[in-house]
Symmetry: C2
Subunit: 361 residues, 2 copies
């Protein structure tokens, strides 16, 4: 089988709004622990847009983003970890790590001090160390089999794609803070991550409260699995007063310039946590006294490991109602999809589908 | 046996510096679930000084603070929970709660929405509801047996007193965040709470790093059980650079006007927590990005329950080296002890000893 390596490449900070160029690229050197994956689907995540807009720093010419990848294995090396040609696998936000440190050994690869991020950072080991990796807005992905995770039976591959970044990003803190039966979980913001957080928390057995501006998304939130909905307006303290001390955990998926964390802390039960997975530009500010008297925390969480992705895939495979709501775009229309994404149009995740590779629109 | 109710009462905000007046007071109505305790020892805690200085709000005339009490039971009611005259018991920062809510039912009385605080707040139930309680800078304590905890054998009663507030205040977060073998715990500040945090974390099996200004307290920190010491100066970021990602948990016992939380977050390993037990006046401010990439948290913790006090007493009884370092003052010298306390003189806890009641100086 022959296949090519071509992708939608960013060249300047306007790329986020649809200025990507379709072009061939040189993949990393194939090594015995690598696989080649013919890409079927790739989700569009907020951090792809941020990276292409230069918000995480200047990008090199030819940056290929995309990190919610699902595709078919077309080549394996001698140490490809049991993967076989024809397997359907996915790759998330992390493409590689040192595989030698205590965190990699503990199957917490996301904490490795030298991760390779799929939307573009250098490989840290092997013959291609130092060269930039290429992401999922492409025809083919090549990389370590360790980070290519086989889909379980019963999972629609297009709907599965967003689980590999957005999904595991909310699953990891939900698991870490004990979401399950008897736990009251708030999800702040109903977008790509938020809608998955509602679904996943519900699938884990938690009672879910969605928190969003106005009531426009209430019907969707309830369909996604929320039993309660708090519509916010101009005065959070007033909005939250009837719900004081009602939640064990809040997953904050929003990323406005500023978040009034103190207002959200009032929603937490003792020993509760407000956990940010969406970055906020301005510093977070709150008084220590309510933190101490309420015995609450403000935390952050950063994607998940291959093992955590596997757990999440199994959970969603056994809870079909928790599959992300995706809207498919033709792979070749990425420059139309990105501006729509940036307008907030997804309900709730855009996924590119490469029909030439066999994807279904 | 006859005994009187007399205490050292505060009347204005200068009281913290030693303007307390010794006078008789009317105790609460004795109820069948109460005990009377002849006070032998009472620790002096920072929050006593703060309360007497009006920092937590104006105080009523005749406020009796003191909430690290150890004494001998001299009267029991019919429902005094198995306590008997002659038992040596202690009372911490909490004197009562509703005993009916979900938190009280779950033995987490510190989270009851209507706690009665020993250094002065109103009773919430029974015949004395609405009247102010009286604390431990007194000859006798009267209150619910539920909050009077029997000392286990082998614990020196004077050294045990500080465990009832300062000790359990650091024990509770150490336990909640998993301090034990294999855990690297940082203790920020070596004062009343900090010195107990080092001892207790060490007794729990953790590896302890003490963090303090300069190196004046290094020798003490090591004697208390710290295996490492980080001396801080004017540039925290530089001081901490060699120790980046080295600690699982930091218990912050300091209460300066301002804390540079961001600098301390750099010390945390992934999933680590910076937990404040000392209040800080100015708002806490940090950027969300390191919180997310490091998967770390900033939390608070608020004293502990009677059950947690019992656990701590058992731990220290079985680890005699973890008994607090106390300096005794005669009960009648409280107005001399308070100004010394406010100068930072304790090494590391002042305890009042009432020799007329049988205490030993």
């Amino acid at each position: 089988m022959t296949y090519e390596f071509k992708g939608w490449a960013g060249y300047d900070e306007k790329a986020a709004d649809g200025g990507l160029k379709y072009e061939a690229f040189e993949p990393k050197v194939f090594e015995e622990d690598d696989v080649d994956v013919k890409i079927l689907y790739c989700g569009i995540c907020g951090s792809d847009a941020s990276v292409l807009a230069g918000e995480f720093g200047p990008i090199e010419a030819g940056r290929v983003a995309g990190h919610e990848i699902v595709g078919e294995v077309v080549r394996v090396g001698a140490q490809s970890g049991g993967l076989a040609v024809g397997d359907v696998v996915g790759i998330g936000a992390q493409t590689d790590s040192c595989l030698a440190c205590e965190f990699c050994d503990a199957h917490k690869e996301q904490y490795c001090a030298t991760p390779t991020l799929t939307f573009g950072s250098p490989y840290v080991r092997g013959k291609s160390a130092g060269t930039m990796c290429k992401g999922g807005f492409a025809t083919t992905w090549r990389g370590p089999a360790h980070f290519a995770i086989k889909l379980p039976a019963g999972l629609d591959p297009a709907a599965a794609a967003p689980l590999f970044c957005g999904g595991v990003t909310v699953y990891t803190p939900l698991k870490r803070w004990g979401a399950g039966p008897g736990k009251r979980v708030g999800v702040l913001g109903i977008g790509g991550l938020g809608h998955m957080a509602i679904q996943i928390a519900k699938a884990m057995g938690a009672d879910v409260t969605a928190i969003s501006r106005g009531s426009g998304k209430e019907a969707d939130a309830r369909k996604l699995g929320a039993s309660k909905y708090i519509a916010t307006g101009a005065d959070l303290a007033a909005d939250f007063a009837p719900h004081a001390r009602s939640l064990d955990l809040i997953i904050s998926t929003i990323n406005p310039p500023k978040v009034d964390v103190a207002a959200y802390l009032a929603l937490l039960r003792p020993e509760g946590a407000f956990v940010l997975v969406g970055a906020v530009v301005e510093p977070i500010t709150f008084h220590s006294f309510p933190l101490i008297t309420g015995a609450v925390s403000v935390g952050g969480s950063n994607t998940g490991s291959p093992d955590e992705i596997r757990e999440l895939l199994a959970l969603v495979a056994s809870h079909p109602e928790a599959a992300p709501w995706v809207q498919k775009w033709a792979f070749e229309d990425i420059n139309k999809a990105l501006p729509e994404f940036n307008k907030g149009a997804p309900r709730y995740r855009f996924v590119l589908a490469n029909t030439e590779n066999g994807a279904k629109l």
